[in-house]
């Protein structure tokens, strides 16, 4: 048993290994492309730029691990950002507004979780529908206008520093830490992984799986809301379409990090790598001065390559785990 557990951890480690190698390759190529890439300053810039994407995609990781998807993340973030901005401009207390924003995010997540868990809608369909509604609500909240000049005490969430480190990075770091503990060291996390791997899905009673779906999608809504708040503070403005620029990049970050869309395998560190790779590509192309039209070409190619690499490595490790299992079986027989 111990041996099996050991090999399980090795396999997980090897998954991150491939994503990490991809990150290294991207870093090395980028360093060759631009001399100013591998400097402390620029690396800090990259992580700061990646932090919103990181926050947005962290909760999504939990959803994807259940075998689902949440397409409403970017517009939930936009809706929360819009509501927060409107409330702030109208003089509400900052702490209260942030709490309200987070609660709205969780409610949107619960709604998704209910559609998936209780009504048994396919996650893609359910969250796609929610996405349309949420975007519509954001448009109504803003009345077609843009709100800017937010209170001076609010914007530091997006542009401030604590001890020389940008606040968005600190928030992203905490989110990742919490997600890591939740996913790897709690019953909730274990249940998410088991729900995602089809073999074990049948073991759960209906009520139990509904609860897990609600929690996972709620978590995704919560991080979406947090991302939306940071985004609004950084822009010092909000409009209904502010989620557009993130769009499907959020999903891409999760999947590039080796979390399978089928659920059950992957993790938050992979998502971190995915988000950073996506940010590096844009960063280095800006440094070199490549036409912005070509940036999406590079992003497209890297998305396909990284996910292919992940699937390729998974096939290999599947074969490895099969041989391991047969080895232990034959060992048991001998004993």
């Amino acid at each position: 048993m111990n041996k099996l557990r050991l090999s399980f951890y090795n396999l997980q480690a090897s998954q991150y290994f491939y994503s990490f190698m991809a990150l290294l390759v991207v870093v090395v190529i980028s360093s060759f492309m631009s001399g100013s890439f591998f400097t402390g300053n620029n690396i800090m810039t990259i992580i700061r730029q990646a932090s919103v994407l990181l926050i947005l995609s962290s909760g999504l990781t939990a959803v994807v691990l259940t075998g689902g998807i949440d397409l409403s993340v970017n517009n939930t973030a936009a809706l929360v950002g819009c509501i927060v901005a409107q409330l702030l401009v109208n003089g509400f207390n900052i702490a209260l507004v942030i709490v309200i924003g987070l609660i709205i995010g969780v409610l949107v997540g619960f709604f998704n979780g209910a559609l998936v868990g209780i009504l048994k809608l396919p996650p893609f369909v359910a969250t796609y529908g929610t996405n349309m509604v949420v975007l519509g609500l954001a448009t109504i909240v803003m009345q077609g206008a843009v709100v800017y000049n937010l209170p001076k005490n609010f914007t530091p969430i997006g542009i401030g520093y604590v001890g020389g480190i940008p606040i968005p990075i600190i928030i992203a770091f905490f989110v990742i830490l919490v997600l890591f503990i939740l996913l790897q060291h709690t019953t909730f996390g274990r249940e998410i992984y088991m729900l995602g791997s089809n073999a074990n899905a049948a073991r759960y009673s209906g009520a139990r799986s509904v609860l897990i779906y609600l929690q996972a999608y709620g978590l995704s809504g919560l991080t979406a809301a947090l991302g939306g708040i940071v985004m609004t503070a950084r822009l010092n403005a909000a409009d209904a379409n502010m989620g557009n620029s993130y769009g499907l990049q959020i999903v891409a970050a999760v999947v590039m990090g080796g979390t399978s869309l089928l659920g059950g395998s992957g993790g938050i560190f992979g998502t971190m790598i995915g988000a950073i790779v996506l940010t590096i590509i844009v960063n280095v192309m800006n440094l070199v001065g490549v036409n912005s039209y070509l940036q999406s070409l590079a992003i497209g190619v890297v998305i396909i390559c990284m996910v292919w690499l992940d699937i390729f490595s998974r096939k290999k490790s599947d074969r490895l785990s099969k041989t391991l299992q047969t080895d232990t079986k034959s060992l048991e027989r001998i004993n």
């Binding site: 048994k120 796609y128 519509g136 036409n291 039209y293 497209g300 396909i304 996910v307």
Partner: protein, 324 residues
């Protein structure tokens, strides 16, 4: 009336009733909307308004046919909008370069077909999920469209635009007839050909397909090539309507077509559904948009209303399915 005649009548009635029960809610909502808007607004129920709705919805209709094929094999093609962008740009650039009309149209369609083929190869051979493969491809195709057009619309005068989008033939613009032909072709492919039954099998039970001796890979690639051809045609229609090559005109089509397909009752789980349902899905989206504009609903509320209608019919659809 003999007894056998009576029973056959009853059988027929039962069949019709069953068909009606199976019809996706989109059909009923479309009928409801038409009645509602024709009472609510003056010019909604005029032939000219319907012709204008038909011309507006044709590109989306053809794209939704393509999306139906991909949804039937349990995926969503996110590169359709980007491919549409590319076709409009490639076609107008070819015309500008002095290539004659027919070859230039073929070049445009070939570009989309090749993109579809690449999607198919990436999905079938590299085993990438359709979602990710087409998301990557969308980025690549958008980049090509933007680079080739330098990010702006390309204008080139030609009579073909008015011929396709305005010239009436048997009462309807040529473009609408082309859309109808695309729907019929897709419907026939899905219901009457071997490829059609393989597509359904691919969505339902791919292992069975392999056992039956057919190559899953080959069928997958065929689906994406077919998708590419349809997108190519839709691109020509779109460019004719906007009378230019535009690198962003197709944005959003990939998601609008998903909405249309889902509204039309095609299921993402078990390879069930039809193009005819999709037609009603497209009509629902377009009539709702058109009607809201004609009823003077502020644009601020339009997207929320459309979103709620879409979500509502998706839920109703799922509920009906579960009762079966």
């Amino acid at each position: 009336m003999t007894a056998s005649q009576a029973t056959s009548m009853k059988l027929k009635q039962g069949l019709i009733q069953q068909k009606l029960k199976q019809a996706p809610p989109a059909v009923w909502i479309v009928l409801l909307l038409v009645v509602f808007f024709s009472f609510k607004t003056k010019n909604f129920l005029s032939l000219s308004n319907f012709a204008s709705i038909a011309v507006q919805l044709t590109p989306l209709l053809i794209i939704s046919c393509a999306q139906t094929l991909v949804v039937l094999i349990q995926g969503t093609d996110l590169s359709l909008g980007a491919s549409l962008n590319m076709v409009t740009v490639v076609w107008i650039i070819s015309l500008e370069a002095g290539i004659p009309l027919v070859p230039s149209i073929l070049i445009g369609i070939a570009a989309a077909t090749f993109a579809g083929f690449l999607n198919g190869v990436i999905v079938a051979k590299l085993k990438l999920p359709i979602f990710i493969a087409t998301l990557g491809m969308a980025n690549i195709l958008n980049s090509i469209a933007l680079t080739a057009s330098d990010g702006a619309s390309i204008y080139f005068k030609h009579d073909i635009y008015t011929f396709i989008s305005k010239q009436a033939f048997l009462g309807l613009p040529v473009m609408v007839w082309i859309g109808i032909l695309c729907v019929l072709a897709t419907h026939i492919i899905l219901t009457r050909t071997r490829l059609g039954s393989r597509i359904r099998a691919l969505g339902g039970n791919p292992e069975a397909l392999n056992f039956a001796g057919y190559s899953v890979d080959k069928a997958t690639i065929q689906v994406f090539v077919l998708t590419g051809i349809l997108v190519g045609i839709a691109g020509i229609m779109l460019a004719s309507r906007i009378e230019s090559g535009n690198p962003i005109a197709g944005n959003g089509f990939e998601f609008n077509s998903v909405a249309a397909v889902l509204l039309g009752g095609t299921s993402m789980r078990e390879g069930r559904g039809s193009v005819i349902g999709t037609v009603f899905g497209v009509m629902l989206v377009q009539i709702l948009k058109n009607g809201l504009v004609m009823a003077n609903v502020s644009s601020i509320y339009q997207s929320a209303i459309i979103g709620i209608v879409v979500l509502f019919s998706i839920i109703v659809n799922a509920y009906i399915r579960r009762k079966d």
